[in-house]
């Protein structure tokens, strides 16, 4: 880990409450000098939609992962983004298992000295999670499960940052 970088990657089988996870993370930073709350912090929270990709009501999302590789791969992605932008802090929490509509599925928090690196780091890390971390979603609707293959494109942002 780069000197001074505070990093935490967690897979959550039980539930992910973003504001609680952030409070725990802030306490950790404040209690472990020289870490501190960053001047610029960019965050992203993703939650489960109430409908499937085809528009039917969603009962639940099932998230499969590759135990061991998924954690290691997220850490690799986070370290690469942190090095590229000189980040001070990276927190990633990601649900696995069965997640209900409205529940949080992913939380990314990136801290830096300036807003530009924090924002770019948060965007890039989220794209990494979407495309390069081994997660597979299955949408359950009407008692039937359907694997989601791939992600929605991000359009302009991805290429331009």
């Amino acid at each position: 880990m780069a000197a001074g970088l505070a990093m935490r990657v967690r897979l959550q089988p039980e539930g992910l409450v973003p504001l609680t996870a952030l409070a725990v993370w802030q306490r950790h930073l404040l209690q472990n000098p020289p870490h501190a709350l960053p001047p610029a912090e960019a965050l992203f929270i993703g939650r489960v939609r109430s409908t499937t990709a085809s528009g039917t009501p969603l009962q639940a999302l099932e998230l499969e992962h590759y135990p061991g590789m998924t954690e290691a791969q997220i850490e690799r992605l986070a370290l690469a983004v942190a090095a590229r932008h000189g980040l001070a802090q990276v927190l990633v929490e990601h649900r696995v298992g069965r997640v209900l509509p409205g529940e949080a599925i992913v939380l990314v928090a990136v801290g830096a000295d300036r807003r530009g690196p924090a924002q770019r780091g948060c965007l890039e890390l989220l794209e990494g999670l979407k495309h390069d971390a081994p997660f597979w979603k299955r949408e359950w609707s009407g008692g039937v499960g359907r694997w989601v293959e791939g992600n929605t494109p991000l359009s302009r942002v991805q290429e331009s940052l």
Partner: protein, 94 residues
Amino acid sequence: MPCPEAPGLITVRLFAGLRERAGWSERAVAIGTGQPRPTAADLWCRLGLGDGTGKPEGSLPGALRIAINQTFAHADQELEAGDELAFLPPISGG
């Protein structure tokens, strides 16, 4: 004269839709001694994981990704005894 190697095992893992179509999630596959080392594409064919669409032997579906020992790898990387090989269908994380 070098000693003949004991036959080695490769662990093959499948995930998500691919696991369900195949009907299994993990298998140990023996690789013979004295033969060329197999690649992920070789094992894909040997394990009958193709979708029967008539793709030539040794070719993998374009959207499929490979991990060897829990790291992304090229499909033509040669495998060694003890390796863990995973076939990963298209990712949908975050």
